[in-house]
Amino acid sequence: MLEFLAPLDRKLLRDLWAIKGQALAIAVVIGCGVGMYLMSKGMLASLADTRAAYYERYRFADIWAPVKRAPDALLEQITELPGVRRAETRIRAGVILDVEGAAAPITGEIQSLPAIRGPHINDFVLRQGRYPDPLREDEVLALEAFAEAHQLEPGNHLYAILNGTKKKLTITGLVLSPEYVYAISPGEIVPDKKRFGVLWMNLDALANAFDLDGAFNEAVLLASPGENTDALLEQLDLLLKRYGATSAYGRDQQISDQFLTNEIQQLETMGRLLPPIFLLVAAFLLNVVIGRLVDTEREQIGLLKAFGYSNGAVAQHYLKMIGVITLLGVVIGIVLGLWLGHGLARMYMDYFKFPFLLFRAPPEVYLVGIGFSLVVAAVGTFGAVLRVLRLDPAVAMVPPPPPDYSRSARWLERMTRLIDQPSRMILRHLYRWPRRAAMTTIGIAMSMGLLIGSSFSLDAMMYMVDVSFNVIDRQDVTVNFVEPRNVRAIQDVLHAPGAMHAEPFRAIPVVLRNGTNSRREAIIGLQPNAELSRVVDTELRPVPLPGYGIVLSDKLAELLDIREGELLRLEVRTGRRPELDVEVSGIVKTYMGTAAYMDLEVMNRMLKDDIAISGTYLLVDPDRTDEFYQALKNTPVVAGVSLQEQAQDAFYDTLQESLGTFVFFNTLFAGLIALGVVYNSARISLSERGRELASLRVLGLTRGEVSYILLGELALLTLLALPLGALLGYLLAWTLVQSFNTELFRIPLIISPSTYGYAALVVLLSAAASGLLVHRRIQQLDLIAVLKTRE
């Protein structure tokens, strides 16, 4: 079969076959790197492209400008503002939904639907059913994911509390909307299809329900291409000030888009950080394996050159071998990347509601992936190929003298005096080849680091959730009122069955300014010694709100570039809309969002209001939650509820699903790296020292004793790699924490001991597995064949 090949190529194939296990191990590591890169970059491109196309086709707004109530006629003035391509007005409000079979009330939004077809801006995809009859007041469109989660189909009914009146509605169609790609109720961080619903209702009907005839409460705009939206936002705020504007905002503060951007950012980080680790390890493996091959084939290389093969021809022979391994790695990588990519796309479709999401990596991603692999192969094998080129045939033909161990360090000698010969062999060997030992250790440590770096995120998220739900927000339920109400409203809520304890809060829309930095935020007013929703410091101790000033979350302070004790400009966007300077009286630690807190009394004094509250935090008797929910569903003053337990469950589910998958694959990949490194090191040692080991067997050492010399060394290196791996893991986690630091959430650098243990276990198991593979080889060592030849 090989007859038609040149002799050198036949040698190539036989050599490759002889090191097939090692070659495959290297190819797999390259494959993991390329696959990871292809997946993350491809997914990144797919998400970005899909988002762009979806936004473009359905005209996702550039700007949202919520107001309290503004006359329809204002649209003309809005449209005439410089930089506006097109504007539309609508009604959008929070509602409480009630679906048959759902015990707890559901928070949702309702939007107005223009009389003819859908809106122009923020249009949606009608997936099933039909548009509501313009003359019917009870027909609505529903967000597809929500409807499906409750098994609602066109023709089914649900209830909504619209501005205090409970109404029975009929669903006529299911839609997807670019505004709800990531459908999440405000203030939460993972989507829960069941607990957040969006409806679209005929404009007239909705205007009736909310007393907004001839008026709107939100304008949405498309900006002219290339327009500086900052100026436009200012103009809008100025124009809409009189109508109770809370401040216009762009896509960067649109919650669904914010989460999408966040995800894209994470993919980017992953694609930047993880593939290089794999490729680095691959370079190291190639370096070791090809370097070793060249060294053992010294005499053959000399012979070929002596026979008249040119330097180039001989070097080419080895380059071909490297090329074949690299190419195999690239092929594995592409297959793996496509497979992972398609899987990820399917997973994303569950969170991100796009009408379509195809995993398609652009050609340059493939090219860069292949290019990187080639560069890595070149770097890894440069030294070895150079040695081939430089080898002088005359020198090469003289067999090398036995490796010289006489320069062993004195301390080592003193140490080895106490141990047996095999252990002495191990230590001298390590000392004689320190670079190789170091590389093996680093390779193993990298796999452990990768494991820790990817698994820690589960620890960190769990911690974050625990802190958020059990330390900071300890209430069972948060109730938002339709309008701010007198503090006496708490008593009404407490009358509900099961309600045990209530604490008020007030949230006011503001714009915070410090120099050129400004942020649109809601300040939460709390009782200074609140027990339920609390403010805590970095050590998680509750911080009583000082009786003055404003307390900022660390992230918000960072965004505003402000420190404790400095003055912050506060523009209130509700009520009398006061504008004043307040002192930053504290900065606290938060993991989610960018909160700002004030003492409720201080806030109300500042607003010159009676004691008014926006809602309450509640503790509910766990045995009476159903009764409590039932009462809540029929309470007209409630505009929204959020249920801690269900939010927490949703979070855990999401974590398990998405991060769990991520951790699974990384465990697999890291295991492969460890396996590749240990197996390759062991195989190389075996082929280098096969003769030595066979001699020992001849002398009467048992297989176990001989294995010990080889595997003992690897065990020692693996053990040395563990602390180094822990350190690398910590560094990787630290880097990830830095790059996952966003407005939406920050991951704390928490690595649980069990994660270290788990990573160490995976590394040890992989090492043991490759040890076993090599041990089997030692068993089959051909004593006679080894003794017959010189080297």
Binding site: D404, P422, M425, V698, L699, G700, T702, L783, I784
Partner: protein, 243 residues
């Protein structure tokens, strides 16, 4: 010679019956040994001669428990080697056999003394590594690594390593193959001394007919069979050999 009690076949240290060794099967079967019968008496020095490929190494390896025959039986004193499993064979080599090969096969990461200690540590009744090295005339080079020794010195370390456990048999496959004649004689002297002073049954393979003069018995092999057995009534000392 100190063969006062000239042994009979039944008292042989090593006995082989109908040894056959084949490689491959069918058309391409190679016969390395074709029915070898042999008895080596205790304490004798035996030299194996024969052309390349005649099966010398194969025979020696089988007698030393490194390899097993396709057919036939091997006895070591009263034990049947051919009935041993791998673990027992290892144990056998560990206790009773010393090997010396053409390519010394020293462990480069161990000094001369440590190379010998490697064996004495696991043997039952060893001499000290120092004594073994004295026996081969290397008392002064004990702490040198193989890389610091000449070929002949390395080979003598290999002999010291082979005899330090006080083996019952010493098997040498072309021990002087890689050495010049002067060095070769020094090595042979070490082997002869061990045979003489410790009474170790010794088999030496060589291509050099001159070396046969130091043997008690000379086996000539050809084509996988023993062609001729010659008794040498007057073995000479290695120093008297010339080639």
């Amino acid at each position: 010679m100190n063969n006062e009690n000239q042994p009979t076949t039944s008292q042989a240290a090593i006995r082989a019956e109908g040894l056959t060794k084949t490689y491959g099967s069918g058309e391409s079967t190679v016969y390395a040994l074709r029915g070898v019968d042999l008895a080596v008496p205790h304490g004798e020095m035996v030299v194996l001669l024969g052309p390349s490929g005649s099966g010398k190494s194969t025979l020696l390896n089988i007698l030393g428990g490194l390899d097993s025959p396709t057919e036939g039986r091997v006895f070591f004193d009263k034990d049947e080697l051919t009935a041993f499993d791998d673990r027992h064979l290892t144990q056998f080599r560990r206790e009773y056999v010393g090997f010396v090969f053409q390519f010394y096969n020293l462990i480069p990461s161990l000094t001369a003394r440590e190379n010998v200690a490697l064996v004495t540590e696991i043997a039952h009744n060893p001499m000290t590594p120092e004594h073994a090295l004295e026996l081969v005339g290397l008392g002064k080079r004990m702490d040198h690594f193989p890389a610091q020794l000449s070929g002949g010195e390395q080979q003598r370390v290999a002999i010291a390593r082979a005899i330090a456990k006080q083996p019952r048999v010493l098997l040498c496959d072309e021990p002087t193959g890689a050495l010049d004649s002067k060095t070769g004689i020094v090595v042979l002297e070490a082997i002869a001394r061990v045979n003489r002073e410790l009474g170790t049954t010794t088999m030496v393979i060589t291509h050099n007919a001159a070396i046969a003069n130091m043997a008690d018995r000379i086996l000539s092999m050809a084509d996988g069979q023993i062609q001729n057995i010659e008794q040498n009534a007057h073995p000479c000392a290695p120093a008297e050999l010339t080639w």
